[in-house]
């Protein structure tokens, strides 16, 4: 693709997302989007960037009339005949909805109890979703949610550790699996260490956690704590 086409495409993508690309030109661009992965990425770039406008300016919220929800429910009630034939589709859709809702509703407003200061995502490269997502809340609570980790190996547990800026890892409780969620309060030393070093790790230990007070099994995941905004999909 010639360089000037590239620039023109990026500008079209910007105007598409902004909304000034209209009518026939908008339709043509939408057809083109179906064919070009690069153009789709140009659009997603602007969707991410312009989306930040929503956060930075006052927004009007208004509760829609209840009939809107009733209409949605009515349109989405499953048809019995379809369910019998495509039994797998509701399951896949349900999983996608659950995952979307989970990430969409996680962050409280600043200052609220439960406001999330940092997030760590335990994920192997190439995995479809994170094994765990860990939030450090403003009040020094750590909230762990198991997403993509189904079960633990027999006789074992996954244990969480704080990696301080220097010195030995600090032990934290064992982690839930299979969609479970656990919240625990950090003591002052743990909180100070975690906020300073911003690193967590997971090791595979005997059932109940390491008997030695330090990791005795292999480290299977590690992650940095980042600001929530730096984890757009989580």
């Amino acid at each position: 693709m010639k360089p000037d086409h590239n620039r023109r495409n990026k500008m079209l993508a910007a105007e598409y997302v902004l909304g000034t690309l209209r009518a026939g030109a908008r339709r043509r661009f939408e057809r083109w989007l179906l064919e070009s992965a690069e153009l789709r990425r140009d659009v997603w770039y602007w969707e991410r960037r312009l989306g930040r406008l929503q956060e930075s300016l006052p927004v009007m919220e208004q509760t829609p009339p209840e009939r809107v929800w009733r209409n949605i429910r009515r349109r989405l009630s499953p048809e019995p005949a379809r369910r019998a034939r495509d039994w797998w589709r509701p399951l896949a859709a349900a999983a996608a909805i659950a995952a979307l809702v989970f990430v969409a509703l996680r962050f409280g407003a600043p200052g609220e109890r439960g406001h999330i200061d940092f997030v760590a995502v335990m994920k192997k490269a190439g995995a479809p979703e994170p094994a765990w997502v860990i939030d450090l809340e403003h009040d020094d609570s750590l909230v762990v949610r198991a997403l993509g980790i189904g079960r633990k190996p027999s006789g074992k547990d996954f244990q969480l550790w704080i990696l301080p800026p220097s010195g030995a890892p600090l032990a934290l409780p064992v982690l839930p699996v299979n969609g479970g969620e656990r919240r625990f309060a950090l003591d002052a030393e743990q909180a100070r260490s975690l906020r300073a070093g911003r690193r967590l790790a997971v090791s595979l230990e005997p059932r109940g956690g390491s008997p030695t007070g330090e990791p005795s099994g292999p480290v299977v995941y590690s992650a940095r704590l980042r600001a929530p905004a730096d984890h757009p999909g989580v």
């Binding site: 997603w44 300016l57 009007m60 208004q62 929800w69 949605i72 969409a104 757009p232």
Partner: protein, 165 residues
């Protein structure tokens, strides 16, 4: 949490924001209701399409709603022209969000939008939040169409340069 209950929670939490955005773009309650409805149905069926390159989940949902509103705006325009032979009537007026409040606050932004020249910033924000087309912007700002188009284009290019700096 069952997916139906989760979906309702998502609706209760996010629909006021989406409805507000649609009202700013469409300026008409019944159409805004239609778009919110279509948006959540689309979310239900396409939740698996969401991925982090689309931004946050709420951002993705807002994008769906905005695109549907823009489609409705085109239909509004076409209907108006067909019915009355007039172009660009009600949609030229600012929406419920007070325009001057929004623009005055936009100067305080310390990110790249705040750094744009005022006329570029104004035209971009009015296009984004109120769905004004090039033609409507030109009429509102009392400038030629070509001038407004170039404000938007230069503004978006400057925005991108600033973001990537």
């Amino acid at each position: 949490m069952g997916d139906n209950a989760a979906f309702e929670r998502l609706y209760r939490q996010c629909s006021p924001r989406l409805y507000g955005i649609c009202l700013q773009l469409l300026r008409e309650g019944a159409e805004a209701e239609d778009v919110v409805q279509e948006t959540f149905i689309r979310i239900w069926h396409s939740a698996g399409d969401y991925h982090e390159e689309r931004g946050s989940p709420l951002n993705w949902m807002i994008t769906i709603a905005r695109y549907r509103c823009l489609d409705h705006l085109r239909r509004q325009q076409v209907d108006l022209r067909a019915r009355s032979g007039l172009v660009g009537t009600d949609n030229d007026q600012p929406g419920p969000l007070d325009m001057s409040q929004m623009l005055s606050q936009s100067r305080l932004l310390d990110d790249c939008i705040g750094k744009l020249e005022e006329r570029q910033r104004t035209s971009i924000l009015m296009a984004y939040f109120h769905g004004l087309s090039h033609g409507q912007l030109a009429r509102r700002m009392g400038k030629p169409l070509g001038t407004v188009k170039s404000w938007i284009r230069r503004g978006m290019m400057d925005l991108r340069r600033c973001i990537e700096a």
